[in-house]
Amino acid sequence: MHYENRNPPEGINTSDHSPVREFLRLSLSALVVLIAVGIFLNFSGSLLGGLLPFKAELWITERVDRIMQQAEQESPFADPVGQGSDSASVDPLEQYLQSMTDKVVAALELPEPIVITLHYRDDDVFNAYATLGGHVYLFKGLLKHLPNENALAMLMAHEYSHVGQRHPASSIGGGITMAAGSSLLLGAAAFENRFFSIASALASTRFSRSMETDADEAALAAVNSIYGHVNGADDLFELFTGIRDDNQLDFLDSFFSTHPLDDNRIQRIEEQAAANGWLATGAITPLPAQFLQWLN
């Protein structure tokens, strides 16, 4: 018997391929698939979230509030404006914010079950946001930069429109289905989470941007009905531009940010005002003289 080892030729158990071309082909098609799935999940989740009755939102936030207080934790829903424990010494700032809120809510004509609960945060963060249950947060860091009352009305109307259009419930619904879907779909496959987070961020940004645009539209109509003109509303976005330039946010952050670019927003509200024949000029209403003192 004869024994030997003949070496078979190369390339039978390995596929000849160009790694770079393979990389491009795979990452492009994976990105397309992930974005499509992400958009679908986000869309269906938003739809479901939007179907949730407002009462259910209230129920959720009240329960969270109670649980937090029982655990003696600081509840995000506690201590709203205009419901201070000591009614004798009502803060003038809170009084003013509450009266503005009443005006804006009336102008927005929010549907019946929806209630706005405003919270003022004595914090230097440049921010304002709306969340479940009609809870809206205004931060000192943003309020102290406001040039006039018209801009404050625009800011409030914008946030309250989010609540009126059920955006918090929609976006949380979308986020939950995206998270559930991606962990089901990619649970086994998620080797590089950064890649997938880019894909899902791209998929979710579009919806948020359209929500922002809707909120801007409703807010501008409200400002027009309060003051009889829309002058000063764009000051809010000018303010954002200024702050953004100061902070020099990098390219990617602004690309992935959920808010449309400020210049586009200004342009869009100008077009909207022109299309509806709303006055672009008119007397600007100043903020109360002691506004800055109240803040500090």
Partner: protein, 146 residues
């Protein structure tokens, strides 16, 4: 976000550059040693020749090889889309051949003339970047001098 993207791209580039270079180097060494050891037969059969007396030794060769960051990323993309995982084929091929070469080197030290009943074991040894261990083992036959 930007930082994450950059570090990801850098890891991919490093994985690509070093991974390709080390694979090429490994294949070159494998081919050279395969030529050198071609005279020693290693086969999967269980029945050794009965023409003379042999001494038997269990010999084995093992190797742990990692693919690189780039290849593992490619494989994770294939996992989404389905299909042949081309980027791991060469990893497994290199592992098998290297393990067999080490087995043969061990057998040669014992002055063996053939290795019978060669078996392979492959196991994944964890890590973020796919890493495998291949073990080849068999019975080396050393002709008795009388």
């Amino acid at each position: 976000m930007t930082f994450n993207l950059i570090s990801f791209a850098v890891l991919l580039l490093i994985g690509f550059g070093f991974g390709q270079a080390s694979e090429r180097r490994h294949y070159r060494s494998i081919k050279k040693r395969e030529e050198q050891l071609a005279g020693l037969a290693a086969i999967a059969s269980k029945h050794p020749p009965v023409d003379r007396q042999y001494q038997q030794y269990l010999v084995c060769g093992n190797v742990v090889v990692a693919s690189d960051y780039f290849k593992s990323f490619l494989a994770s993309l294939v996992n989404i889309l389905g299909g042949r995982v081309k980027s791991f084929e060469s990893l497994l091929d290199r592992g098998r051949r290297e393990a067999l070469l080490r087995l043969k080197e061990q057998a040669l030290q014992q002055q063996a003339t053939a290795v019978f009943n060669v078996k392979y074991e492959t196991v994944r040894v964890g890590g973020r970047v796919t890493t495998i261990e291949v073990l080849a083992y068999g019975t080396a036959l050393v002709p008795q001098s009388n």
